[in-house]
């Protein structure tokens, strides 16, 4: 069972990630998502975190690893709809610039 749903429009691939992101779940998410990225070759990957209920630093690794992959295929990555608790760890990691500010949830 995949822990994300995909939507694509033109050159953009949107991955809506669901549930808890930790070391246990991140491995499956990254390998499944990488396979989709390499198959679809999007110009822009959007990781949507609106349905993420928990994230530890494994989620930072998940974002950075996908950013690296997108770079290798000359694409870009943004993160959107970040819940407040998840936003704090993204800020701590110093990768705020990857988040599309207009869509950050400020609940």
């Amino acid at each position: 069972m995949s822990q994300f749903t995909l939507h694509s429009a033109q050159d953009t691939l949107i991955a809506c990630i669901k549930g808890e992101i930790d070391h246990h779940t991140a491995a499956g998410i990254s390998s499944d998502l990488d396979a989709e990225i390499l198959c679809r070759m999007p110009r822009l990957l959007v990781m949507d975190f609106s349905a993420v209920s928990f994230m530890d630093s494994s989620g930072i690794g998940l974002i950075l690893g996908r950013r690296r992959l997108m770079e290798t295929i000359q694409g870009e990555i943004t993160v959107q709809a970040v819940p407040k608790d998840v936003a704090r760890i993204i800020k701590l990691a110093g990768i705020n610039q990857i988040v599309k500010n207009s869509e950050v949830k400020t609940v």
Binding site: A26, F54, G61, G65, A93
Partner: protein, 145 residues
């Protein structure tokens, strides 16, 4: 100060138990009536400590991870996560943000930085070949009104 409540659990260093550890600490922390944010901080810090033991203490085998949590009269929560794994040679280096001996493509090296930032205090003791013990505390202020 003497603890007024205490729980202990031990579990195998399987990654599926990271979620168990968070659920267990959430249940105990709930006794202190924390805010949603405080609870998220504690769950995240525990997740980091337990993940460290699972990934780094027992890289090639399954070992035992122990978690002890205590509540003190002043509403301080203390959590100790320990293992009998390979230990840390250089704690100061291990605690540097972005330092990791794990797969640099997937591991951010932020575990200790998260624990430090989300908890009030963090103490790490380790002996190479013997294991590591991480103790962190957080005071849960009583809600106003």
């Amino acid at each position: 100060m003497k603890a007024i409540n205490k729980v202990k659990c031990s579990f195998l260093s399987l990654s599926v138990n990271e979620g168990f550890a968070r659920t267990a600490i959430s249940g105990f922390t709930a006794l202190l009536d924390p805010t949603v944010e405080q609870l998220a901080d504690i769950k995240t810090a525990v997740s980091e400590a337990v993940t460290n033991s699972i990934i780094h203490a027992y890289p090639d085998k399954v070992g035992v991870v122990k978690m002890t949590a205590m509540i003190y009269a002043d509403n301080t929560l203390s959590i100790t996560v320990s293992d009998s794994g390979k230990g840390i040679e250089d704690i100061a280096e291990a605690m540097k943000p972005m330092f990791t001996t794990g797969n640099p493509n997937e591991r951010s090296g932020l575990g200790f930085a998260v624990m430090e930032s989300f908890m009030d205090t963090l103490k790490v003791r380790s002996k190479p070949g013997k294991g590591t013990r991480v103790t962190m505390t957080k005071k849960i202020q009583k809600k106003q009104g």
